[in-house]
């Protein structure tokens, strides 16, 4: 600590030129320069100088005190996903930093821009097993787009500029900046100056695609007899919704979305056929076996989309529009890869695409719908026995006119929400897709509301998931913003139970929950709520939730052993899709 104390003394001495500031203050100035208005964080020993500096910036930077650092990283994700801006979270060294890791890992796989700031022990103590010293750089290297340890105050402006650039550029992702305590306390030895950057020697993603690649893609699309578009998260990330719609309409191609691509195009669009994947819809899945040209935009052929990738769309030629070159040919070989930002690529592609009419081909998709409706929807809405998750989601969808920002956790309720909510506005389905992180929804819904205060945020959460980050109810209550939470309580870890029923001979191994009284707990945190157990009062219950001025928790007791269909069994071909 000697160095730190010495530096502290320096700070109070009069020798320092007025223009020089401490590392912590420099960090605050960097955040302002990047227009950061919200930070989700939790203090502790190694980050205290930063919190002390924050005290003077409270009027300009809204710091949200979470209840667990995992909540901070998920809230930062929710904020980023609803606002399209970098989410910022902050924690102390050691356990604070390790608690952030789940959210960071979630952010890298779902391409969510995030800057995570962690405190670290003073640089002279690094490697000595000092109190709360953890090798965060080592721990987070595999799950960060970039990470860096700052040991001198002078480094702060340049490194923070890099951090914000890398988090957003190309394919967004999380960046972790670890700042030793002496760098926080220490004075800069030069005047603070912040220069935003827009490229780096080792990182300069291609935004505008090569004209030849676009040309080749256009030729393939124009030659197609049965073209089919899969739209992914990338279109939402690059805000290419208008360009995308223009292409779809001009070429008249049927579209399906991936789970995270939901809401990239309105559900009401006549070319929209639904979403595909393990629990996706019937026609979007099986038609991957029928198309001759598959146009994948801003998606990465995740195994939850393809099932057995070797069999997936094997008859089709593939056009793959993607900003990350490492995704090209990673899972599916592309005849016409287009490396670049979706918005730029679509802008260039549009004038080269011929106007077509695929009425008959689109009808082939629609013709498959009655079978799915008969097998799945009719059961879900039969109105018998206990309330079904589907009824709740559909009713909320109708009452919010399909315009809410829906945040979901992981499990059956996640799939049912995707299936029955009628998304009409973009950025409206916020889910942990790639990592499937239970506990995502409460903090992410809160973050989403902070990132888009004008939107109504409704979260669908399983009873298992709710208990993973339940403590963030405290954060929500303290903040005063309105998050509408619906617990779809089936008293089981439903999705796991479904697999045990279907693939493990109904051997229910540790999936039944003895749940707490969720409403008493919510009230204890200061959030009102009530339980709905019968169909007759469901509509009124949802009204109460939606009309409440502040946050609200509605627990709906749903059918215990309901299964989600359609389902493509893991690792199988989409043609093996089951409707029951």
């Amino acid at each position: 600590m000697a160095i730190a104390e010495e530096l502290l003394e320096k700070e109070v001495s009069t020798q320092t030129p007025e223009t020089f500031i401490t590392g912590s203050k420099a960090l605050m100035e960097c955040l302002l320069a990047e227009s950061v208005d919200t930070i989700f964080g939790y203090p502790g020993g190694a980050i205290m100088p930063v919190y002390d500096a924050l005290y003077d910036y409270m009027d300009r930077i809204n710091h949200i005190l979470v209840r667990h650092e995992q909540g901070a990283s998920h809230a930062a994700e929710g904020y980023a996903r609803s606002s399209g801006r970098v989410g910022v979270c902050m924690a102390t060294s050691g356990p604070g930093a390790t608690n952030l890791v789940t959210g960071i890992a979630d952010a890298i796989i779902d391409c969510t821009p995030m800057v995570a700031i962690t405190g670290q022990v003073a640089s002279n103590l690094l490697g000595t097993d000092a109190f709360q010293e953890t090798d965060v750089i080592g721990i987070t290297a595999p799950v960060c787009k970039w990470n860096y340890q700052i040991t001198r105050a002078d480094e702060i402006p340049e490194i923070m500029a890099k951090a914000f650039y890398i988090a957003m550029a190309g394919k967004p992702g999380p960046v972790l900046i670890d700042i030793t305590k002496d760098a926080q306390i220490g004075m800069m030895t030069k005047p603070f100056e912040y220069k935003k950057i827009d490229k780096l020697p080792g990182y300069h993603p291609r935004i505008k695609p090569k004209a030849e690649q676009v040309q080749k893609a256009a030729e393939l699309i124009n030659s197609a007899k049965k073209p089919y578009i899969l739209v992914g998260h990338g279109v939402l990330i690059s805000e290419a919704m208008e360009e995308f719609r223009a292409l779809v309409e001009k070429a008249d191609i049927p579209v399906a979305s991936t789970l995270l691509g939901l809401s990239a195009i309105s559900i009401e669009h006549p070319n929209y056929m639904g979403w595909l994947g393990m629990h996706g819809m019937y026609a979007p899945n099986v038609m991957t076996d029928q198309c001759d040209v598959l146009i994948a935009i801003g998606m990465r052929f995740d195994d939850r989309v393809t099932g057995d990738a070797t069999l997936f769309a094997k008859q089709a030629k593939i056009v793959h529009i993607e900003v990350d070159p490492a995704e090209i040919d990673k899972i599916k070989k592309a005849e016409a890869p287009v490396v670049g930002d979706a918005k730029e690529a679509l802008k260039m592609l549009l004038p080269l695409i011929e106007k077509r009419d695929f009425t008959a081909w689109k009808k082939e998709f629609r013709d498959l719908e009655p079978a799915e409706h008969a097998a799945v929807n009719e059961r879900d809405f039969a109105g018998e026995g206990k309330i079904k998750m589907a009824e709740v989601v559909r009713m909320v969808s109708d009452k919010t006119k399909g315009e809410a920002c829906v945040v979901v956790d992981v499990g059956q309720h996640q799939m049912i929400s995707a299936r029955y909510y009628d998304f009409k506005k973009p950025h409206s389905y916020i889910a942990s897709g790639g990592l499937g992180t239970m506990g995502f929804a409460i903090p992410a819904a809160f973050g989403a509301k902070m990132g888009a205060p004008e939107r109504e945020v409704v979260a669908f959460i399983g009873d298992g998931c709710f208990q993973m980050t339940i403590q963030e109810l405290g954060t929500i209550a303290q903040s005063g913003v309105a998050v509408k939470m619906i617990i779809l309580n089936n008293n089981f870890l439903g999705m796991v139970r479904q697999w045990q029923q279907l693939f493990f001979d109904r051997r229910y191994s540790f999936v039944e929950l003895q749940n707490p009284d969720f409403i008493t707990i919510s009230k204890g945190f200061g959030i009102p709520g009530h339980t709905c157990d019968d169909r007759a009062s469901l509509s009124e219950s949802i009204d109460t939730l939606l009309n409440s001025e502040g946050s609200y928790v509605l627990e709906v007791i749903v059918e215990k052993e309901e299964n989600v269909f359609p389902m493509v069994p893991a690792g199988r071909s989409v043609s093996e899709i089951r409707l029951k």
Partner: protein, 178 residues
């Protein structure tokens, strides 16, 4: 199995070795050898990584993953025919008083190996060459008994007329040593 030599040009920063090796370990790829040194451009390091793989495609995918590391400036993957390469090995052999003398003529002429150090009861021979040549020499000296044997990773330059660093991004003014 084919041998691939992957040349990675990077900024010289702490922790980079870890960021690169985890890309291999995550895919369960065994690194046969690895050499890192600074290049003719100041601040640019060069990793030479040798792996064996059955599928060229997998190696291409790997190269693209390495490119994603922010501090990585450029990555090139080569087959043996595309490069000039060598390794260096040191052999410590015992030379007790009663032992059969080493045939230095054969060692020098045929194996192009040299004595780089000697003491009362041992010598250190240095042999430069390909993995196979070093292995040949290993077999040759084995009957003498080997006290210690160590072999470096591969170093390689490409058989292209231009220096590889010419292909690095030119946004930055790299300072040349030369």
């Amino acid at each position: 199995m084919k041998t691939y030599t992957i040349c990675v040009f990077t900024e010289n920063s702490i922790g980079l070795l870890n960021k690169i090796t985890i890309i291999f370990t995550r895919r369960r790829l065994n690194i046969e050898s690895l050499t890192v040194s600074e290049t003719e451009r100041k601040g640019v390091s060069r990793f030479t990584i040798v792996i064996k793989h059955e599928q060229r495609e997998a190696v291409e995918k790997l190269v693209r993953q390495i490119r994603k590391v922010v501090e990585v400036l450029a990555v090139f993957g080569y087959l043996n025919d595309d490069i000039v390469y060598n390794e260096i090995a040191l052999f410590k052999l015992p030379t007790p008083l009663d032992s059969k003398p080493l045939d230095m003529e054969t060692i020098n002429r045929e194996h192009k190996a040299y004595i780089v150090y000697w003491d009362l009861d041992y010598v250190v021979l240095q042999k430069t060459g390909t993995e196979e040549e070093i292995f040949e020499f290993f077999k040759y000296v084995k009957p003498h008994g080997i006290l210690e044997f160590v072999r470096s990773g591969r170093v390689a330059v490409s058989k292209t007329p231009k220096g590889l660093v010419e292909y690095l991004p030119d946004e930055v003014e790299w300072e040349y040593y030369l």
